[in-house]
Subunit: 241 residues, 8 copies
């Protein structure tokens, strides 16, 4: 096959209908699909379900890269904390499914990109921790759930240029922001390669494995013709062997 196959994880949605009220939808934001197809790769939506190791092995077998999409908060059990009062909605079933995907992807040398929740899950998998809500951060922070259209950048991410992600984004890049949780302790073997002005980590990468995490939503900016964000997907996919 000529196109890279990109496996992307899904969340749950509901329809407002009395008869179908307990039949949920598994889906993802169409913006991811467009970002991937515009970059000439092939998107495969991996549904979230009570998966087994065998299921996961098969998915990993098919894909060239794994994208962990945005969504609910990571269940704090996965970074060994009690749940605090300002924790948001969690999805334990999705956590276990996606952590298994991470594990198998690593075993099979499949690169991983985590977006928003995806980055937070990667950090948790490798032993890092999260602040369960921005209000728990012990220093002053700026707005991280923007009340602007999603394609409009509202912050600057300052990058360390000597990194895989920094090589692309250079010194700084304008980003959007939609999260109420942030990284607290960075996972072992990871480098924080970008921060906002208030010190929040905006991007991470593993020191020697092809595992990347970004806290903002480039696919929503790409959807509305932001070329830097669209080309980021091309850059990532071109790096795949």
């Amino acid at each position: 096959m000529s196109r890279k196959v990109i496996g992307i994880t899904s969340g749950f949605y509901y329809v407002d209908d009395d008869i179908f009220r307990d039949h949920k939808i598994t889906g993802i934001c169409q913006d991811y699909i467009h970002a991937i197809t515009r970059a000439k790769a092939l998107p495969i939506a991996i549904p979230t379900f009570n998966s087994t190791e065998e299921d996961i092995d098969e998915y990993i077998n098919i894909i060239d890269m794994l994208i962990l999409s945005g969504g609910e908060d990571v269940s704090p059990e996965f970074y060994s904390e009690d749940r605090l009062q300002k924790l948001g909605r969690t999805n334990y079933l999705r956590d276990t499914h996606e952590l298994l995907l991470i594990e198998k992807a690593i075993e099979n040398n499949i690169p991983i990109l985590g977006i928003c929740r995806g980055m937070q899950l990667i950090n948790s998998y490798f032993g890092g921790t999260l602040y369960q809500d921005l209000s728990y951060v012990p220093f002053e922070t700026i707005e991280h759930i923007q009340k602007e259209r999603p394609e409009v950048p509202t912050q600057i991410a300052n990058f360390d240029k000597d990194t895989f992600l920094g090589n692309y984004f250079q010194n700084e890049v304008l980003i959007n922001t939609f999260h109420h949780q942030v990284i607290n302790t960075l996972a072992k073997d990871f480098v924080a390669v970008a921060h906002t002005n208030d010190g929040i980590i905006e991007a991470i990468e593993h020191s020697y494995l092809p595992i990347y995490g970004i806290q903002w939503h480039p696919e929503m900016m790409a959807e509305k013709d932001n070329e830097i964000m669209q080309s980021f997907f091309n850059y990532i996919f071109n790096s795949l062997s």
Copy 2:
């Protein structure tokens, strides 16, 4: 790989949120995923987008079977009729994407199962037509959008036993029903293998290709432990070479 890879098509959903109002969700009912995984096959959700032949070739390359899932009415342009007043919601983008999937699946000998809208699309692809609404059917019909829980059967489908589908379902089987359109003229080379008592076509199959269509939703019945409907998926997947 040991598991059959089942490509399943998706629809669009929206979230109620002013800021994200024009960012749609591509997704499918989780019941399909469960029906497939319980049958020990691997579900791949194929997103709906403005796809090219190359995209479709790649999907067909990966999958062992194509399931066309339920959803909007087929655009009457595809069976050469004007749109009538009682036509329901259509999704032209999805139609063109899925018709291309059908075309390429046939070219590559990939079996196809159409469910509800899926069966109607297959019939349209092969030159058949639909009644745009039950009220246009020139004979008396019974209720075809049931106001019961989706797992409860409310009709009998009478099968012709000497067919692939009839071989499984035998003479008759209890089914659910959620559609306002039905087949009018059956496509060339297709056989109507099941009907309800009022004469509505409930299942079709191609005379020599592995292409099947059923009008009801077995996956919703399987979701609530209906064994006949769950085993139907196993039966279909076991038939894959």
Copy 3:
């Protein structure tokens, strides 16, 4: 025990809450409870669930009378008809549960009172049929879903005085009305003991068993101090041995 124990059947309700969306409520209108307790009897709400004969035997063992409360349409399967287009919401699970209750109540000589849906279910159990919607009635009918407060009577029921129910209600009584289905063929061994002016059956009773059905809602009128309707419950309970 000095008080009569009245078993009353329940329906399903839902709460508007994303997290609890598939956890349903089993409940009944409080008006029944008040009508029963004001008549110095003891109300026992029998939940609707996937019951077994053993469960039902136990309930019958405890109660002195069975009240079948109002609710969804009876599934036409139980009177051997196909479902027609204007059929309303059905609840097959509840039908099977309540039909078992009827069967066991009869076996154990427990009197039965059916209200609205309850009367229609009794008629179906004994072989009668229903018009699936008022519009299927072949003669002119008046309003049977009133758009008035439920305690206000909007019709006259004309009774045959020489019956158990007519003995109480005498020649005529003012009633409320909230139904879209009506009896078509009366069940064998039943007598239609009351009609509205348009000829719709408003009350039935078995020729020799203590089984009664009324089409209106006396408990809603009793709730707002209608003495005829409240005393009807006293009359019924006093008739219990």
Copy 4:
């Protein structure tokens, strides 16, 4: 009778309909019914109404065990406190009805299990007090209204093994959590047999009477196939003489 009869208390619900707006529903979550019937006991829903001692005597006469279900906050009048600003919705009518049930159950040696609000009511009946809202607890607490599906455990309850409940749950058990009030002073003659890590009481039992309270919702976990929680109901019912 061979099956144990379990009386379970009810709450109030409303339907969205202008004409029926002041006709309330008395009901309970179906999960309790399923937990009880899977344990081969017989559920009797006891409606909430303005009951008299005679009504209550009759209910107690019928049942083998009383389950006090979840619901509104206990009215602080019943533990001799003024109502504070963060008190939640209360239901005084239900409080008086259920306190009478407790009183009569004790008089007649009927065992009692209180769940969530039920445990809090038991504690109030016996002279204990509640914190009217988690924010009034004078030490740091974790999340006690989980934003996860109800069947997913989000906390550990640490049990004292030398107790009736601890004998079943052993040292620790994973629980769900949906409450904003907690026990402040434990009632006389009661033992706190389980706590979460932050010190909140999760289970109590009387020193010599068969009266048990648990703060979480085992019936919601049992509903989704949690065997420890389902078997807890079997364990309790088996203990009934």
Copy 5:
């Protein structure tokens, strides 16, 4: 007192609030109040309740004129018809209260003006009948529930000039329209003094008593500066002795 006291009848409204759901509001459209006060008369809102003759005598004692305001359909019992399927919302309590007001007003020579429902009630009191819905009218009718702002006239009422009302409105006047019921047989001793082009009665008056009825809503037009409609109220009030 120098100002005429105008008693005006009220309807019921509800507030969306769980706690106050069964506490209704008694009220009337503020436009009536403004029309009356601009005409230098004094508006007295007469609440709708389960009134006695003594209550009504007192109200009649205070007022110089009675205005019967718009609202629900008249209960067909008051013109000796069964309720038909397209009858709208009724308010029996309000009917009996207002019919008593009419009776006492006549006894005490208090003039009456009926607006919309008010005119229909007057016609019923005096033995006339209504078409329960426009669709029951045996000839073709135009739109009578306008989908325009209420102050915009959408019809012409053609008046008989030799009448009290025609003396004011002259040959024709532009009116608004918001009703689904119309007069069928006119009450004895009444004259139909205005019609729309399709033959619907738009105004009536008694042959010798000061009792007037109009089918449209002059107060809504007066509210938005329609001088003909505002002066109509001045004309009526000036006619009071």
Copy 6:
């Protein structure tokens, strides 16, 4: 006339309808009407509008007592304070109208009863002040917007027996509570005759004029058969000369 005429003030309500969206309803809670009529007095609803002195003189001329009903916050301009951030919804038009009613009632020796907002308005008229929100009270307060059904008392009001109101209520009485504002400085010539345990003023009366204010809602308790609260209205009306 034999019955006392009670003038009661009104608020504004809206209907959900695009065409009538700017036509408001003037109305009051039906509970007041019932409390007055059960006490054999005659309720006259005084609409709120841009009234003149002449309008008010006429109303005062008709009535034997003025009841100022509950509703929005008093505009702080009337007690010479700036509006603070937690001030609630105000209704300046209603304030000016009702203050004129107070002024004219006093001039004409018409007794006044203020309920909730009514008491707060009386206090403002006579020069007293309010805390614009409970959170501005400089001492600890209990819940004053109860989350219980309105007829259920949730507090004790402790009365000074040597007063007009205390003569009726005696030492203490159980009350409901639905307000977020409370009296700060009591108006000149007024006596605070009742308090809750936290020190909030629950009733006031003028030292020598027949002007009374109570902070709770007796009419809502009377509506559900609370005899103390119903008889309070009889007591007040009997005191009228």
Copy 7:
């Protein structure tokens, strides 16, 4: 000035907010603005208000072309018909304002383009009539309110090539459709230059004045990159002297 100034008419919208409920928004669909600006012309939104001839003269003075945008039904008074029962929402104020704009535009030789309602208003201005609803058309019609995304064409308009509009659209063009009214008698001096297959008029133009009307919404198709529809605006604007 180098750019053509395009005056475009507006409709009314409301915001859901109790305080601002009677403050309306005057606005138009942004798609018109984009279609105009992409064609390098300058859009001027002309608000709808109770305008005078002088206001209208000034607007006409500024603009090079008038676009009458889509919206409510034309009030039938303007084509001398009574309002029929299936007439939709009208806006009389907007009609009078826009008819004045048409009159003055013609007087000043300003070209006019009417879209949907705009075309219907032009036809009414010049003496033509409309079918007030599709169901009044005396022949069979197809779907004219499409249930597809607005940018997707669902019909073919067949053009007469020897006309100004046909010169651009050629023989046939794919169009969308969102209207329930259609032209009945064409206005004098107008030519119907396009029809759908069922015979409905889709475009008109004046025989010698630069006045054009189209029944569909080209601006919505242009918004989603339909080049034929975008270039139509360029074609029109280029024709302006």
Copy 8:
């Protein structure tokens, strides 16, 4: 032309409709239009879009004055601050469009009036800053989002009489208030000409250019017949050369 042409800026609105969900409305509150037309000037609504310098030049060419209307918060990027947590909804596209309008208006000597957001944008353009929310103001403030009808004044603005605006409003004027942001540092060359009692800036003007800003909404007060506010528009327009 004899009338002054007033260009007024617009915001975005949405309609609740699945099919049109991503087609937005560009509009403004009708009150501005009425205030302008009553002052005998001509309102031109300038749509918000992704405008170029050429577009803006053309608009400036047409208008005699620019009014910047109310709306979202100014994006803090335009006064060089990070976005803080309590920032409200922003509209970056509108900011850039309107800042360009300001720039070109100044270049062409077109006077500017900023209302609410408009004043805040002017201050930002000239280098001033805003408090992103009232809670960030370091001194005590009063209510600035009134919960009263918009035409009712709830504050006093104290003016400096020796200014253009003070010349009109004199020492003090009663104003309404609907904003959660306020000026922090005043822009260079601007004078704060009015304050509320808590020290918040309510009006500004440039020292030598015809640029004015007011924080409240005079057009909403003018809409309901406030003459001071209506005449303010006449005063401003009369000052235009």
